[in-house]
């Protein structure tokens, strides 16, 4: 596995095209293009609407939940969906709708935190590797190669097992397994801009390499990295939920989608489907939303890579 720059996006070849100091008109244009994409592509519009709902549930979940997600009521255990309990109740009579709503915040926080972490570390490592080359590049790329030598979910399991069984470590493990992806993209994008006109101009006017890295390269590859973020968000949610499904990280009474599906799993065989179905659906919708949103964002930022 050599780390040759993979097929890259529209590379600004002429410095005129780049004109990185984004003026107000440029921003307005982007906004116009964004509106065009959202309205022109109903799927992206739909994904955006879903996104608003999910974020709403994450913020207001505990406030709008009809019941206390922890309050058990053994008299009302294992009831199928009804007017009082829209999603039914679980084996100790807790309201599943409330638990699904409240869980949104935790699931989203884990995913956002891990993606933000890998964005910062993987992005910076990749830029440094692609811009400085030499030893930095060799070491960073070797780390990526080694991580990629593991089946990613298995490595995440191993990391959580070694670091200790906590939510923080789920975030760290998810970030580590995503590291190669971010590092490679950042490296490729930084590398092709190494000798670009605006970088040479900055060099000529006496900027240090480190300053160029931060003020010229970083802002220019930001859009592509942001797209990557929303594309991997779905995977991060799945990864974290998978880990908690096998009993890692989140501890039982806490409402979290993965662990709720795991708790409901044993009732599937006897026909109580609602315990696992609703948290599973929530999980699916969230992942689906971020995948669609990622595709839509890519269309806005990088129309040439549209599929």
């Amino acid at each position: 596995m050599t780390s040759a720059p993979v097929e890259s996006s529209s590379v600004p070849t002429s410095p005129l095209q780049v004109s990185h100091p984004a003026g107000g008109s440029r921003f307005g244009e982007t906004l116009k293009h964004a509106r065009y994409v959202v309205t022109g592509n109903p799927v992206t519009g739909f994904a955006f609407a879903l996104f608003v709902i999910i974020v709403g549930a994450a913020i207001f979940g505990p406030a709008i939940a009809p019941y206390d997600p922890y309050a058990s009521d053994t008299a009302a255990a294992l009831q199928s969906p009804s007017a009082a309990h829209w999603f039914g109740t679980d084996q100790v009579g807790r309201d599943i709708l409330s638990r699904v709503l409240v869980a949104t915040r935790l699931d989203l926080t884990i995913a956002v935190a891990s993606v933000a972490l890998v964005f910062a570390i993987g992005g910076l490592a990749g830029i440094a590797a692609g811009f400085v080359l030499g030893w930095t590049d060799r070491v960073v790329s070797r780390i990526s190669d080694t991580i990629m030598a593991f089946p990613l979910f298995v490595l995440a399991m191993g990391i959580v097992a070694a670091l200790g069984n906590t939510v923080t470590n789920i975030v760290i493990a998810t970030a580590i397994v995503n590291f190669p992806l971010y590092q490679r993209i950042a490296r490729a994008e930084a590398n092709i801009r190494r000798e670009a006109g605006f970088v040479q101009a900055a060099r000529l006017t006496g900027n240090s390499e480190f300053r160029i890295l931060l003020t010229q390269i970083l802002p220019n590859i930001m859009p592509i990295m942001v797209v990557q973020m929303s594309l991997t968000m779905g995977y991060a949610i799945l990864n974290a939920a998978g880990l908690s499904f096998i009993g890692l990280g989140v501890k039982p009474p806490t409402p979290e989608w993965g662990i709720m599906v795991a708790e409901g799993a044993s009732f599937i065989i006897s026909g109580e489907w609602w315990l696992a179905l609703f948290p599973g659906l929530a999980l699916m919708i969230a992942v689906f939303c971020f995948n669609l949103l990622g595709d839509g964002l890519r269309d806005i930022i990088d129309p040439q890579r549209r599929t």
């Binding site: 979910f153 070694a162 026909g271 699916m284």
Partner: protein, 337 residues
């Protein structure tokens, strides 16, 4: 060919070294007390100290690394606390179950995804193209453990078509003689059709669950690579020369479009081996994934380490085979190498 093989084998070595270092780091250098992990939750200070000395955790790190490699070379992965058996023996006994499930799932998903991708590319913009897009998007969005449970509910509880999701074989059947370790193959080898049918019934749902998960990347790359090949000049020439559609698509376009698909298989395997753990838990499949999950929950540390190492070695080997396959199909790669 032999020279190519040797050269490729050399490129695997740095990866192997990396894998061994990472598994070593996962065991020794992390915060927390590895001796306490290995001793298990029921240990007292004395037994932890005993384990620390017997495993050599009181010695300097480089020395520990050397003895770790020595242990690996002799196949010593430690003992499982819960069963008392050597981890290597446990993993060896359970590996065929996991391998059978993963391979069967992969075959199923290729059997569905490749024709689907080809059809979607040939009839671009048609209903089947849209169906392909929906299926691939759904495939990557569905948590694999959720699909599995859904299948169990529909096919076992509602329809009663599938047997109870409890392992590789119904308890009324005795497993076939151990030849390859794959129940499907072994039962056929001894001509036991009844057992074959029972094993097939058990494996179908978990394999389908895995297949649905692996479907998306394979179908997507098949479609994309068929599209790009179909618009190339040699296809136009073949068509202009009056070759039949079947010959052009399968004989000319597909063979060329296969290369990116095979490259993607590496990534698909990474997904499959991870998803395997979750599917095994849902279907109580007695493979190495469920073994590791059980050990994880009981804080039994050695089996988890052995599992991570085994999976990584397996994955490196699979990537190596894919590499070889690639150079078998595409003569150009062979020359470059």
């Amino acid at each position: 060919m032999l020279q190519t093989l040797a050269k490729r084998l050399l490129t695997v070595i740095p990866t192997l070294i990396g894998v061994v270092i990472v598994t070593f780091l996962l065991t020794r250098v992390l915060p927390g007390d590895p001796a306490a992990y290995f001793a298990g939750p029921a240990a007292n200070a004395e037994s932890i100290e005993e384990i620390r000395q017997s495993l050599g955790f009181d010695r300097p790190l480089p020395e520990q690394f050397i003895s770790y490699i020595g242990d690996l070379a002799t196949g010593d992965l430690g003992n499982s606390l819960s069963t008392g058996q050597p981890v290597l023996a446990e993993i060896r006994a359970r590996l065929p179950a996991s391998a059978e499930l993963t391979l069967f799932g992969l075959l199923l998903s290729m059997a569905i995804a490749i024709p689907l991708g080809i059809l979607a590319a040939v009839k671009q913009g048609s209903a089947i193209d849209h169906a392909c897009r929906v299926l691939t998007t759904a495939g990557v969005s569905l948590p694999v453990f959720f699909t599995g449970l859904l299948f169990v509910y529909v096919f076992y509880f509602l329809l009663g078509w599938a047997p109870a999701p409890l392992g590789r074989l119904d308890i009324f059947f005795s497993p076939p003689p151990d030849i390859t370790g794959f129940y499907l193959v072994d039962s056929l080898l001894v001509g036991d059709v009844e057992t074959f049918r029972a094993a097939l019934a058990q494996i179908l749902l978990p394999a389908l669950t895995l297949a649905l998960f692996a479907l998306a990347p394979i179908a997507r790359i098949t479609r994309a690579s068929m599209l790009s090949v179909l618009s190339s000049e040699f296809i136009r020439t073949a068509r202009a020369s009056g070759l039949g559609t079947g010959k052009v698509i399968l004989g000319y376009a597909f063979r060329n479009a296969m290369l990116p698909v095979i490259t993607t298989l590496g990534m698909v395997f990474s997904f499959l081996l991870g998803a395997n753990v979750l599917v095994e838990k849902v279907f109580a499949w007695p493979g190495i994934g469920s073994f590791a999950v059980e050990a994880l929950i009981q804080s039994d540390y050695a089996p988890v380490q052995g599992f991570v190492l085994t999976m990584a070695l397996l994955y490196v080997a699979l990537n190596f085979i894919i590499d070889l396959l690639y150079s078998l199909i595409d003569p150009r790669v062979r020359i470059e190498a």
